[in-house]
């Protein structure tokens, strides 16, 4: 698509979307949001650029491959299920602890949250990979 408005807008909106997706991810445990939604949103932000310019441009400019996102995500997911085995002797049992943060009660962090981050990255990777696959020019001829 060749729209200058869309292209310029994509520059800013994209990062807004990314920031928004991270906020959604972070607040997910207590308010609507979470890894899946956040991941979809972040994936969409990349898709936005792909649409404003071309998917090929996005592909060349992306320094991290979507496969790496998926790998990172799955790795985080599989890491997060293990602490429960060793600490509470139950697979996938959530382990929580509080990270002290000045002037507040501190930030609660736990393995389910790590799990959610893993979902986040996996979904980004999957979305972008779908996008790339479907926009691949060569395969349709």
């Amino acid at each position: 698509m060749n729209s200058i408005i869309l292209q310029i807008a994509s520059k800013y909106v994209r990062w807004l979307l990314v920031i928004f997706s991270v906020i959604i991810l972070l607040r997910g445990h207590n308010a609507p949001g979470g890894g899946f939604i956040g991941g979809l949103l972040a994936g969409l932000s990349l898709a936005y650029k792909g649409f404003a310019f071309t998917p090929e441009l996005l592909k060349t400019e992306m320094k991290v491959k979507p496969e790496s996102f998926m790998g990172l995500g799955l790795m985080l997911i599989f890491i997060s299920v293990w602490p429960g085995v060793f600490i509470k002797s139950a697979f996938m049992e959530g382990i929580w602890f509080t990270i002290p943060f000045p002037f507040t009660e501190g930030y609660k962090f736990g393995t389910p949250f790590l799990f959610d981050i893993g979902v986040f990255f996996t979904v980004i990777g999957v979305t972008v990979l779908f996008l790339f696959s479907l926009s691949n020019n060569k395969s349709w001829k």
Partner: protein, 771 residues
């Protein structure tokens, strides 16, 4: 007693660390591993006094006790004998491999597999739980596959590896079934329980099927007839692998299992009939085909088959003499066969050939190696003063005194020994003595590691042959006691006195010498013999195997083609029709049409929304423009999201909106590449589709309506609501369900998602151009 487990784990850890060794010591990894093996070997040597007092050590760790699965490591006479073999031969093999593999790439991979194999084999012989044993058993099978196919650029190597994998895997499956069948009789998979409940097992109806299933596993692993043919094929492996896996350790795993199970399953009529029968056939097949081979390694492979047959036969006869002979022969065979394989590899390296007709007079070029080979061959032929002589005498004694059809066994044993003697002499005179066809100049120092392994093995064999008593008391007797399950007195001596057995030995030597003389003197005899074999035994087992596999694959392809026709529309049609049928059956059974519709007024905008959704859906069906269809489906999706919002399911609504957006985006990407819109379906297919849709849609509607009426006593959602914050520290219940309560589901879903994405990407990125 944790060291046993740690030792096995150490092997696996060490194997993994091979890839990250610093560069400086990377080229020395063979020696490094040899040190590890040495440490393990010494550890086991220190256990000898404990075991020779007929004690044993058991390590018991709970794994899944509900299923009878536990980690049980047992160190007794039998496992110690095998552990000494695995680690002791391991030291020498790794030293040898250090030199042998120098000229190849990917040695890290090779040592990784070989060391993993060592660990797996050690785990196998120490296992006292049969399921655990099975796991190690299969590990050795897989690793053998990788090691045989190490030179994977050769087609023969790949074929041989596949063949051995399939055969031993089939045997492994059968073994697992056998373990479960017999295990159900005593309700345990622990070998100690099996031995304790031996009478119960033998009298139960599952004994015979279980025994046969286990024996199939044993026979495939230990290359017994009719599964023996994978072993000569496996000679495609590098020489250290042949020396280690296919002579000293892995093929003995079957023999080990047979010995382990002997007190639990042995001694019955079935046992003393089936086991010796296959042992005798294998013994004869091995020695008979060994004599006409011309490839040095093939000769060794067939003589290994012979030896395995002898071991199985001896364990099957099941008298104290035969078991004593079996344990002794196990060591004898490992000593001479491992050294002969190493020497064969050495010869191949230095001369470039393994054909014995092209070799000759190697003693002039390699005097030390030839001397070692001479001693090893003497042991194989069963001549004094080597340990082999002692073994042969004992075996004769066992066969002569065996109950049942003993005399038959004894005649076959005599034939097999004559053949073995002839083979040994043939190799000795054709390869090492006689006229030199070429002289090879080799610098002496480079060969140290090549020679050190066989030299040590042969020396041990010589020393024990001359003074066998200590070895018999410390190693053979405890192992025999375990297998025979009652004390056996082992006293070995080289000189037995002048008796029937010695006469047999002399007759063997005389006949064998005559046979080998004919073979060496007249090459034509051998050629004629080979021709005779191919006409009399027309079935080539490896070829038969390949054909069977090929026809099996062809059969599955033809069946798969019917089910996997490749038409997407029919896949979807069959999925929907099948689901609809299932739903309707359930609806009829539960009388799904009987429900009350709770009628409540909703605000007008909800009703209006529903109306819009219906309109959009209808429009997407009848429109002739793709973009319109996609957009109107988008309207349906967003409409659903709004309804979710109305019922304050915020998470669901957001997800719905986002995925709907993504779907529209992706459709747009595809859209520009599709051909122009044409109507392809005929009227008949349209009517069919309409009928299917109505049936399926009605079923779904009924199910949904019925779901409102079903009142479960306590919906699980209440549990989630209550515990979400208290136990999982999250106020957003949906998210807590996803990442905590039902995290296993999410884990599976994430994995499936990734696999699907990779699949799509592979399908669409594939370079294959469609014509």
């Amino acid at each position: 007693m944790l060291p046993m487990l740690n030792l096995v784990i150490l092997y696996f850890l060490f194997a993994l660390s091979i890839f990250i060794l610093p560069k400086a010591i990377k080229s020395q990894k063979g020696i490094l591993i040899a040190f590890l093996q040495m440490a393990a070997f010494v550890w086991f040597v220190f256990k000898v006094p404990l075991v020779s007092a007929n004690n044993s050590e058991l390590l018991f760790l709970k794994w899944i006790p509900e299923l009878g699965l536990n980690f049980e490591f047992l160190l007794d006479g039998l496992s110690l004998a095998f552990a000494l073999l695995v680690t002791g031969v391991g030291v020498l093999v790794f030293l040898y491999a250090h030199s042998y593999m120098k000229s190849y790439d990917n040695t890290a991979k090779f040592f990784f597999f070989l060391l993993l194999f060592s660990g797996a084999m050690l785990g196998l012989v120490l296992s006292a739980n049969l399921i655990q044993l099975f796991i190690f058993w299969e590990l050795t099978t897989v690793l053998s596959f990788f090691l045989i196919s190490f030179f994977n650029e050769k087609e023969l190597a790949r074929k041989a590896a596949f063949q051995s994998l399939v055969i031993t895997f089939l045997g492994g499956l059968s073994l697992l079934a056998g373990i479960i069948v017999i295990g159900s009789a005593v309700d345990s998979y622990s070998i100690n329980d099996w031995v304790a409940g031996a009478d119960k097992i033998k009298s139960s109806s599952s004994y015979v099927p279980g025994l046969i299933l286990i024996l199939i596993g044993v026979f495939t692993k230990s290359a017994q007839f009719p599964f023996h043919f994978w072993l000569p094929g496996a000679m495609q492996a590098p020489a250290p692998v042949s020396a280690y896996l296919h002579s000293a350790t892995m093929v003995k795993a079957g023999v080990f299992l047979l010995a382990r199970l002997s007190p639990a399953l042995g001694g019955t009529d079935e046992w003393t009939f089936i086991v010796p029968l296959f042992g005798v056939i294998t013994m004869l097949v091995g020695s008979y085909f060994a004599i006409t081979q011309t490839d040095l390694k093939a000769i060794l492979a067939y003589t290994t088959i012979n030896a395995l047959g002898v071991l199985v036969l001896l364990l099957g006869i099941d008298t104290n003499l035969s078991i004593k002979a079996a344990v002794l022969f196990l060591f004898i065979h490992a000593f001479y066969k491992a050294s002969l394989f190493m020497i064969a590899g050495f010869i191949e390296k230095k001369t470039g050939t393994r054909e014995i007709n092209e070799l000759g007079g190697l003693i002039k070029s390699f005097p030390i190696t030839s001397a070692i080979a001479l001693l090893a061959l003497l042991s194989m032929a069963g001549l004094p003063p080597m340990l082999g002589f002692l073994g042969k005498e004992l075996i004769y004694e066992a066969k002569v005194q065996s109950p049942g059809f003993g005399s038959m066994i004894f005649i076959f044993g005599f034939i097999s020994n004559v053949l073995m003697f002839a083979v040994s002499m043939k190799v000795l005179f054709k390869v090492f003595l006689g006229k030199a066809k070429k002289t090879y100049t080799v610098s002496r120092f480079k060969n140290t590691f090549f020679v050190i392994g066989p030299a040590i093995l042969v020396l041990i064999s010589l020393v024990i042959g001359i003074a066998p008593n200590l070895f018999g008391k410390w190693i053979i007797e405890p192992a025999t006691n375990v297998i025979y399950a009652s004390p056996v007195n082992v006293e070995l001596a080289l000189w037995h006195g002048f008796n029937q057995v010695l006469l047999l030995s002399i007759a063997t030597v005389v006949l064998g010498s005559m046979l080998s003389y004919i073979l060496i003197k007249y090459n034509r005899v051998e050629v004629l013999w080979q021709k005779f074999n191919t006409t009399v035994f027309p079935v080539n087992l490896p070829e038969l195997f390949t054909k069977t596999i090929e026809s099996f694959v062809a059969f599955s392809v033809s069946k798969t083609k019917i089910l996997q026709h490749g038409y997407h529309r029919y896949y979807i049609l069959s999925i929907i029709v099948f689901t609809a049928v299932l739903l309707w059956v359930q609806l009829f059974v539960t009388k799904g049409w009987q429900f009350e519709i709770p009628f409540t007024f909703k605000p007008f905008y909800i009703s209006g929304l529903v109306f819009i959704i219906m309109l959009a859906t209808l429009f997407s069906v009848i429109t002739r423009s793709r973009i319109a269809a996609i957009l109107s489906m988008g309207v349906t999706g967003y409409g659903m999201a709004l309804i979710f919002l109305y019922y304050s399911a915020v998470d669901l609504a957001i997800t719905q909106i986002l995925s709907e957006t993504l779907i529209v985006v992706m459709f747009m990407l595809i859209l520009q590449r599709l051909p122009t819109f044409t109507k392809l379906s005929s009227k008949a297919t349209k009517i069919r589709d309409l009928i299917v849709s109505i049936i399926f849609g009605t079923a779904m509607t009924l199910v949904t309506l019925k779901a409102i009426n079903v009142n479960l006593s306590s919906p699980i959602s209440e549990f989630f609501m209550q515990n979400s914050f208290q136990k999982a520290f999250g106020e957003n219940v949906v998210n807590v369900i996803l990442v905590d309560f039902r995290a296993l589901d999410t884990l599976g879903e994430a994995t499936v998602l990734v696999i699907a994405a990779v699949g799509v990407s592979v399908l669409l990125f594939s370079k294959k151009s469609k014509s």
